[in-house]
Amino acid sequence: MGASDFAKLPHIGESLLRKEDYRFLTGAGQYTDDIVLSNMQHAVFVRSPHAHALVRSVNKAAALKAPGVVGIFDGQDVAADKIGGLPCGWLITDTSGQPMKEPPHPILAQGKVRYVGDHVAMVVADTLENAKNAAELVEVDYEPLPAVVDVRDTQKPGATQLHEAAPNNHCYKWAIGDKGAVDAAFQNAAHVTKLDLVNNRLAPNPMEPRAAIANYNRAGDDYTLYVANQNPHVERLLMTAFVMGLPEHKVRVIAPDVGGGFGAKIYLYAEDVCLTWASKKLNCAIKWTCDRSEAFLSDAHGRDHVSHAELAMDKDGKFLALRVHTDANLGAYLSTFATAVPTILYATLLAGQYATPQVYVEVDAWFTNTAPVDAYRGAGRPEATYLLERIVSRAAWETGLTQDEIRRRNFITQFPYQTPVALQYDTGDFHACLEKSRELADMAGYDKRKAASKAKGLLRGVGYSSYIEACGIAPSNIAGALGARAGLFECGEVRVHPTGSVTVFTGSHSHGQGHETTFAQVVASRLGMDPSQVDIVHGDTGRVPFGMGTYGSRSISVGGAAIMRALDKIEAKAKKIAAHLMEASDADVEFANGEFTVKGTDKKVTFGQVALTAYGPHNYPLDKLEPGLNETAFYDPVNFTFPGGTYICEVEVQPDTGVVRIDRFTAVDDFGTIINPMIVEGQVHGGLAQGIGQALMEHCIYDRTTGQLVTGSFMDYTMPRADDMPEFRLGHVVTPCTTNPLGTKGCGEAGAIGSPPAVINAVLDALAPLGVKDLDMPATPHRVWQAIAAAK
């Protein structure tokens, strides 16, 4: 079935209430820490208090005598058992043609620690309290070394060196675009706008901290790992094939209810491997639940780019070329997808919504004494959007155009559109998004509102951001050519039961996105049944065939498409069974609203009758068809999907205090076909809150000298709270994706991608009369006040 027929089905576009809500609202959700197994021990990690130090020795003697302790493991034990380091899933090739530097990433320190929170030892005891007490008794002899946390410091001559395998702390230099053509375009430019900016480091902070329970079963020589994770098959593949050398069929990974992910739960972490390894050594189940303080230290962080950008224009404000250099902070080690974020997921988006003929981007990626940095909601695309939308608005102000007019003059209008940085956009309507956003934001009334603010002594400003993102990750052949070490397809299995109800097994994982509802809507609509007759199973390698999981706004467009393909097979087989029952030829059978009919006759059988026949094949073409109605499909997308939109933010700034208040925030998105508007809008709300959080509040700060994490708790790291957020105005433009059978584009990350530059552009617009020209995120009252004071 194609996208246009799909969009017309019943239930598509309906805000069905969520099937999963009852258990969450009544306390019946089952998150990893809620699970209690028999003979379950508790693990605590001894973590480095130093940002960079040699580990001279680890003395476990006193701790081993502490009450309840059953085992303590350190780097020597890891080495003795030949447990490998954590792999990086994406190989980037340096501009020199050499592979990126890939230093070892041990699960427990091998003679050196490289960030505060780095794993030194694991203590296992009968209770959590005993494990914590014993961990205090592990004596680690550290020899502290100088630390470097900032990308601008780590590349300086004489900087402390993290890894022998990465001279000068450099991981790779990577570039995309035609440098010669870009340089030539700059020579002919009527105007060049330049901008330096920092994309602030963030802590993802899903509300459920990471947690895992590993359980070794000696009778079957197999393992079960419960883990708060977004992609259990990927977790299993990386752990078995690349780290522990275990056969995959002996490891079952279950990601039960997971309390948010936002990227931080994609990766294979050291804790997961330590628990699995030790559960066999100790022949027991071992639980570890991360404290929030530990999460700040050890979850992969997001963003942390320092960039310089230049935009060349002609005399009419048409973009001629964009030139960008970015220094990306990868942290102390390469996390699972770290290397793809500042390259494939970033630089390829720098054409944005604009028909800029030439773009050249150069990226240097660096190691520092900080927690590993990896994908966080948006992953590269927020960094690209922030850079591009900031420089476009600055270009407008420098050339006397309005923020909307400069965008109109440069929007891409013809599709498909091949950008100069590899991507081919299939569809979109950027003008429609801009105009609809202006209308919803009531830009006609802006001047009045600005005057009213002025009368109150407040400065009002408006900021635009027209973002595009590449979602539906990813065509495996393209990803492979770009360095991915795994495929990026998805699987779906549709199991029709004899009485006609359906269980669907999907490789996508829901940790807040509502797949149990949306995917059931897709299936119920196709088969003409009530969504209550469809259950979705996910998050268990023991039940789902094989799946790549949920990230990059890929679930509906890739996982949903796999289910659609499986439904195509179900429908094809069911038609044959129906044809047999109605004594018609296969070609004359039609299926709609749960009924099979024969063209030109009044014959019909229901889907339920066909299902029953498939499992009770008494009157059945057994010579031509197998019994049963159970189909699996693997779907590999042919292109990325390209959600886009225009966000408009309006702020009021108090010039005396630097306090910024968002007065209104309007988001118009094009997500293609929308299956459940309620869920989609919820995803946008959440993304906006994270993007506004980045713009105004959130900042993960390491002390530049000592490498200590300054923002290590919710007392220090400013999480957005209910009274920090405005009421959002949302709108949609729909141009269905042309490359998948649902027409969907993905909606999970848009809010976090599009909003930061809209906010900062609004603050800069408000401060323009005071002479403020630049401001880095987060625009806290202190920073805004400093900028105002500096401009005076």
């Binding site: 959700g29 509300m207 209810d257 309620m678 709300h685 959440g686 209910a722 009421e727």
Partner: protein, 155 residues
């Protein structure tokens, strides 16, 4: 140490070490795992329960301090036949939850909020929910749910 208290309408005795937190007693001794722990600094509110009708962060109270008091956790909010409390129903109808982890604490705070401030407007609700963090929803639908739940609780 033995502590008697009433939890979700039932009298219970918890035998636990003196340093046991109320949230540990609820989760680990009484196996009521709907009450969650999202931080270690009493900031996130995922562990919120009602103690004698008032919303309290159970990570910040010793079990001993709750002796003799009446505790309601998220498991005790719905009717005996499973019908959701009007506030739970409002959260569902308004899509006021996504991953569900902050939700129990959010619902407990909301019930207390509406009992204390039955006429709270959106701004007041946002201020009153300061103690409960949600990373998924951006709060908009939570505020809507609390308004709708408040109206339903009055009805």
């Amino acid at each position: 140490m033995q502590v008697q208290l009433k939890v979700n309408g039932k009298s219970v005795t918890v035998d636990a070490a003196p340093n046991t937190l109320l949230v540990q007693a609820i989760r680990e001794h009484l196996h009521l795992t709907g009450t969650h722990v999202g931080c270690d600094t009493a900031q996130c509110g995922a562990c919120t329960v009602l103690v004698d009708g008032r919303a309290v962060k159970s990570c910040n109270v010793l079990l001993a301090q709750a002796a003799g008091q009446t505790i309601t956790t998220i498991e005790g909010v719905a009717a005996a036949d499973g019908t959701m409390h009007p506030m739970q129903a409002a959260f569902k109808e308004c899509h006021g939850l996504q991953c569900g982890f902050c939700t129990p604490g959010m619902v407990m705070s909301a019930i207390d909020l509406c009992q204390r401030h039955p006429k709270a407007d959106a701004t007041q609700i946002r201020e009153q929910l300061e103690g409960n963090l949600c990373r998924c929803t951006g709060y908009q639908n939570i505020v809507k749910a609390v308004q709708q739940g408040a109206a339903a609780m009055k009805a």
